[in-house]
Symmetry: C2
Amino acid sequence: MIEEILSHYLPPIEAEMRRVLDLPGDLLTGHYGMLRYHMGWVDQQLQPALVNSGKRVRPVLVLLACEATGSPADQALPAAAAVELLHNFSLIHDDIEDDSPTRRHRPTVWALWGRPQAINAGDAMFTLSRTALAGLPARGLSAERTLEAFHIFDETCLRLTEGQYLDMSFENRMDVTVDEYLTMIAGKTAALVGASLELGALIGGSAPDQRQHLAEFGRHLGLAFQIQDDILGIWGDEALTGKSAESDILTRKKSLPVIYALRSPEVGPALASRYTQPMDIADIPEVLELLLRAGARQYTEQMAQQATDLALEALHASGVLFEQNQAGQALLELAKALLDRRQ
Amino acid sequence: MIEEILSHYLPPIEAEMRRVLDLPGDLLTGHYGMLRYHMGWVDQQLQPALVNSGKRVRPVLVLLACEATGSPADQALPAAAAVELLHNFSLIHDDIEDDSPTRRHRPTVWALWGRPQAINAGDAMFTLSRTALAGLPARGLSAERTLEAFHIFDETCLRLTEGQYLDMSFENRMDVTVDEYLTMIAGKTAALVGASLELGALIGGSAPDQRQHLAEFGRHLGLAFQIQDDILGIWGDEALTGKSAESDILTRKKSLPVIYALRSPEVGPALASRYTQPMDIADIPEVLELLLRAGARQYTEQMAQQATDLALEALHASGVLFEQNQAGQALLELAKALLDRRQ
């Protein structure tokens, strides 16, 4: 079912993004080449390639929301491309900021072309996400609605930078609260998923109520997905996730289980003193033991479940879940698949 | 005269930008604080300060173009703020890319808060430049015109990244042509000055012809200014420019005089071999001698003059230079002041 949905919606999304990232001329081949490499369309010699380019879930959500609320999915293609390009802009810059040399088993843009060019390439991807969005009037959307779409998009960009700021500022803090953590992932992860649904609904022609319910669905879906990710980053099955188990412990990531355990009067001080020093594989059992004693896994799973429940409630409230609404049903299927994951 | 123009137009521009960069809450004080520091409004402890924050020429050009073409300058304030914030976004990222620890006699954002936070702060400034532009409908501009403004703005952002890409890619090349150089500064410098005039004219209500003439005026003004800058970077008076004379030689910058001389059959090879090695103060006389023999200064001055002539021609062709048009006259005065500079 999920494969069917994706194979139906992905090709036009890919074509739309390729149009936006088309090469404008010889002199700039290298500039646009970095972007096309990041998208997985060319290899590092800029020769055509087809590699794993990520799940592209967000743009599919845009199209489904548009279709579920009454307009042909095609009308939302510019927004779908915009959302995916914006996501990829943030990955290019995140990889520099996190000093990550690989992504999806390939060297990152900065690892190949250096940080200065990679920062600038990210800026170009950022701009091109808006170039994509500006294609909405040509698909029949009114100027007023298009401006609304730009507004949603710009607010989302700002939330992304705020979330990223908080994430980086947490690195040196041992007193992060759960609320602060939730604010961080609301910006860094949930805002863009919420915007995907909201843009689709706006273009689909939703009334404000329905649009808000779908945006809410997207935000809780994003939160649930991220909290799930935090669980997998510590207790995931390496064979399925492709990352070494406990990888978030090794990198001392302030994910939700850790933040929760750091606040525990019983194990917090011991965990904090562990997290202020470099972490080694040999230290992992001790950290796992502290997390267990704090009940961190159980707590985090409850939080994931809560966000999942709220997401599905909002989807129901949006009114797109009647049987004849195939796109609405597909939204539900996709959400379930995203939330019931082991990788 | 220039002081009068600036003192009239700058305060509302500054107020508009401060509104856009307002602090949204305690948790994000540090994030927005970096932006406010960069703008010169606070010191590095984020306490109110008033420091030299650059010339703010571009936003004044926006307002003058709007007024000269028939609408009150206030209507263009969102675009003026947008253009200046975009310029400042590019400075934050350029400083990282160029590894520059100081700007306007203060530490740069990355030098104070590290590269990861500075990249992200630049992204926030980039986004906020569009938040500023989105204020146009509230000042009475139609949705259609506002979308046109977004289009001009996004194209300009793309040109900025293209110009920056070329500038960085020139660093390792000895065979850059004058045409390639002109393409680079057209993107890196001239596009935003052109956009400032074009946005002002669009908001002012210009017919397409007049709008194009004013955009053309801006682009040539930007080119002339940049070429002038290249001359000052090698032969400027240190007491006036505040930079050490010949600073562009020490940093081996591929400015126009150098590119021209590198193409000279007579001195090119010697200069190229000099420019492939680290440069020391003791090497400067030799480089100056090679530039002299190539006639590089004379050539560059001719190019600056040519761009100046084209700028003034386009301004005349735009039809804003009749006596009753005070804003049109002010554009001419400002252009002359910018082009006849020694610092």
